[in-house]
């Protein structure tokens, strides 16, 4: 993270246009300001509670850069990143999809059941499971999109309620004799055959999950679809102002349903890293809650394809090293404090820098206008 200003300064020498240079500087100032603020705040909290922050940061950096820690962090970040992408698709259109959590769990359950009971060869089974997860999760999100487009139901309310319904539905289906079988105190869908598990990359210090490829592809698709296509342009236009978008011929209702569906389809991928690289089934020990982590990561990464990747890795880093701090006598809650502080600092720093930039721009435009008027006045006088 500390390398950022250096890269930016080398970039500035390349960018001659002073306005572009300023925009770039402002863009870098926000995350830098946020991280510095966050770390200062965390240090204060730790100092107040009689814990040595300098030693803690040292321990975290040291432990987090170990090879096996890095493998762990990458694996952990895969699902977080996918979750953030799903949330960000909604964010870009001013839609707050809080329902990623329910969407991915329903999708993963059905996909795991299909994969476990059909048991085709992996070549067929893996794409089939991913497809099923995307369709089911997309459908679950589509309900909220449909309600919003046709009835004006706030997607915040409907997705939260759909989360609760998803929990009950998963609980209902996850019973012996329905979609699941029992082993000990775990009730789970039939195990996937070994051939249906995703590949892993052995680093000698642990295995990186192959599903990292899915995350990269999802990131590229997100960047391309939203930044480089007509659909993405319309989506962002609706996000900025739906009336303006409507006036320029965008069908806002279709866009709302479409964006929600797309967000849900991306949410379907969230459960895949764990299902295909780790558990091989969906059971009552299948982790929930990653949809909410995705919201924090999308905020932290500013809905940017690369920004969210850094944010997801940072999250993994904090979880990996935070647990380690516990062994060194620090209270484990400090990680939660760190995560919360970082997100808050980022949100506030971006807003501050944005406002400051806006004021600069306004005063500059004002100055230019005044100068322009003075010039025309001069010309007029000379002309007389």
């Amino acid at each position: 993270m500390t390398e950022m200003p250096a890269t930016v300064s080398s970039l500035t020498s390349l960018v001659r246009d002073p306005h572009r240079r300023e925009r770039l500087l402002l863009g870098a100032a926000a995350p830098a300001l946020a991280l510095v603020t966050a770390f200062v705040l965390i240090a204060v909290v730790m100092a107040v509670t009689d814990q040595n922050p300098v030693r803690a940061f040292g321990l975290m950096l040291d432990y987090g850069t170990k090879a096996d820690s890095q493998v762990w962090i990458i694996n952990k970040a895969i699902a977080y990143y996918l979750s953030a992408v799903a949330v960000a698709i909604g964010f870009r259109m001013n839609l707050f999809n809080i329902g990623v959590d329910g969407q991915y769990q329903v999708g993963a359950l059905i996909a795991a059941w299909v994969g476990g009971s059909l048991a085709f060869t992996g070549l067929v089974n893996i794409p089939l499971m991913i497809l099923v997860a995307m369709v089911v999760s997309g459908f679950w999100a589509g309900i909220a999109g449909y309600l919003k487009a046709t009835r004006g139901v706030s997607e915040v309310i409907s997705t939260i309620m759909l989360n609760a319904i998803a929990g009950s539905l998963v609980g209902y289906l996850l019973k012996e004799g329905r979609l699941a079988e029992l082993s000990g105190n775990i009730v789970h869908t039939p195990d996937l055959p070994d051939s249906s598990m995703f590949f892993t990359i052995d680093t000698g210090n642990g295995e990186i999950w192959g599903t990292v490829v899915i995350a990269v592809l999802a990131g590229v698709a997100y960047w391309f679809l939203l930044g480089r296509t007509r659909f993405g342009y319309d989506l962002r236009a609706v996000g900025h102002s739906d009336t303006a978008a409507l006036a320029s011929g965008v069908n806002v209702k279709t866009m709302v349903t479409g964006a929600m569906l797309l967000s849900g389809v991306a949410a379907g991928l969230v459960g895949m890293p764990i299902l295909l690289n780790d558990s091989g089934n969906f059971g009552n020990n299948f982790p929930g809650g990653m949809g909410f982590t995705g919201i924090a990561i999308a905020l932290l990464g500013r809905n940017h394809a690369v920004g969210m990747a850094f944010a997801a890795l940072l999250w993994g880093f904090l979880e990996r090293t935070g647990n380690h701090l516990d062994f060194e006598g620090y209270s484990r809650e400090i990680v939660g404090v760190m995560q919360g502080t970082i997100v808050l600092s980022v949100v506030i720093a971006y807003e501050l820098v944005r406002r400051w930039g806006l004021r600069r721009q306004q005063s500059r435009v004002g100055a230019e206008l005044a100068a322009g008027r003075a010039k025309t006045n001069d010309a007029a006088e000379v002309g007389q």
Binding site: R55, G58, L59, D62, Y63, T65, K66, A67, D68, S69, W72, N75, K76, Q105, G167, S168, L169, V170, G171, Y172, L174, E176, L182, G184, N185, I186, V187, N205, G206, I274, D278, S279, N284, N285, F286, P287, G288, G289, M290, T293, E319, R320, N323, H324, D326, F327, E328, G329, R332, G336
Partner: protein, 334 residues
């Protein structure tokens, strides 16, 4: 000791695995499930075993608690970090640790692992399982004999196979004792994926309130730390009783305010099992295999603290005898 670990860590260069800096032997470590050591219930029962070991065996126990929404990878890293730091035995409290214990035990064959509420088959793992349904049956007998309204309630944390054992035993105990008594059944979560059902006292409070409105006058809550909310709600109503779970909740300091409403508790002696394991490791002959803790071994029992069930002790003893000698077979599924 922390300083040496820090030194060892900082000496290790980047690119090296963290497991290469191993610590010295350190005594037992206990990893709690969601809810944490002070849940007044399940985790605290395990903690008492650790505390007893500290007192009687002179060891120092390291405790750590799971966050909500952890993955197997999170739990596995907790256990492997414990093992690599030199702790022995390493005990996972709760069935969610099953997969993690299995994987950690494979990586650290010289460390003894313990797992509560799940069975892991490995030479260096001691699996501790309890007959929750049997203790719950006795709780059902007590509830059926004590109810005035002929309506009793069961609140479970999450609708999973483990908590269904509590429900099944309780329902059967009630039905066998007095078939006219109705049992209301509610779960806080069907499936949370985060363990939230065992750390949500507010939700248990609402459910208890709903049951009291429907005339229930005895409520048995099997939901770890969530159960505290149910007990708190019950204590507001005259003539309504709570039945505690896992710990003898009448004796819990954190619940002392409401103890006059705690009829009894279906105790699960995780403390005994945890102490057994620590002691065996300390004496150099670590336990392994499956340790079954039932009524006969007093691994589960119905608490008598408070004396509220003294008048029906004869019936409860008879039911207990019946289960132990096989006359009564308690179902594990509702």
């Amino acid at each position: 000791m922390a300083a040496t670990v820090a030194l060892a860590l900082s000496a290790a260069a980047c690119g090296e695995s963290s497991t290469e800096s191993e610590g010295a032997e350190k005594g037992p470590a206990v990893a709690f499930d969601v809810g944490g050591r002070d849940d007044q219930s399940f985790n605290e029962s395990a903690a008492r075993g650790g505390d007893k070991a500290e007192e009687e065996l002179g060891v120092e126990v390291f405790y750590q608690t799971a966050r909500e929404g952890e993955t197997d990878a999170d739990r596995e890293q907790r256990l492997t970090q414990m093992a690599e730091a030199g702790y022995d035995p390493v005990i996972g409290v709760g069935f969610l640790y099953g997969t993690a214990v299995e994987r950690a035990a494979e990586q650290f064959p010289d460390t003894t692992f313990g797992i509560v509420d799940s069975v892991v088959e490995a030479d260096n793992v001691y699996s501790m399982v309890f007959a929750e349904h049997e203790a719950s049956y006795l709780a059902g007998v007590a509830a059926a004999l004590k109810t005035q309204t002929n309506v009793v309630g069961f609140i479970g944390g999450e609708n999973n196979p483990l908590i269904q054992k509590f429900q099944a035993g309780f329902e059967q105990g009630v039905a066998d004792t007095s078939p006219d008594v109705e049992v209301l059944v509610e779960y806080l979560y069907e499936n949370s994926g985060t363990g939230a059902g065992f750390a949500d006292p507010a939700k248990a409070k609402e459910k208890a309130d709903g049951m009291i409105v429907r005339d229930a006058d005895i409520i048995y809550t099997a939901a770890g730390a969530s159960g505290n909310g149910s007990i708190e709600e019950v204590a507001k109503h005259e003539g309504v009783w709570a039945i505690g779970v896992d710990s003898d909740q009448y004796q819990q300091e954190g619940l002392a305010e409401w103890q006059d409403h705690i009829l009894t508790s279906a105790v699960k002696a995780v403390d005994v099992a945890v102490f057994d394991l620590i002691q065996s490791v300390e004496s150099g002959e670590p336990l392994s295999g499956v340790g079954e803790y039932g009524l006969a071994e007093e691994g589960v029992y119905l608490a008598t603290s408070g004396g509220f069930i003294d008048d029906i002790q004869a019936e409860i003893d008879a039911a207990r005898e019946g289960i132990i000698n096989g006359d009564i077979e308690v179902s594990q599924t509702p």
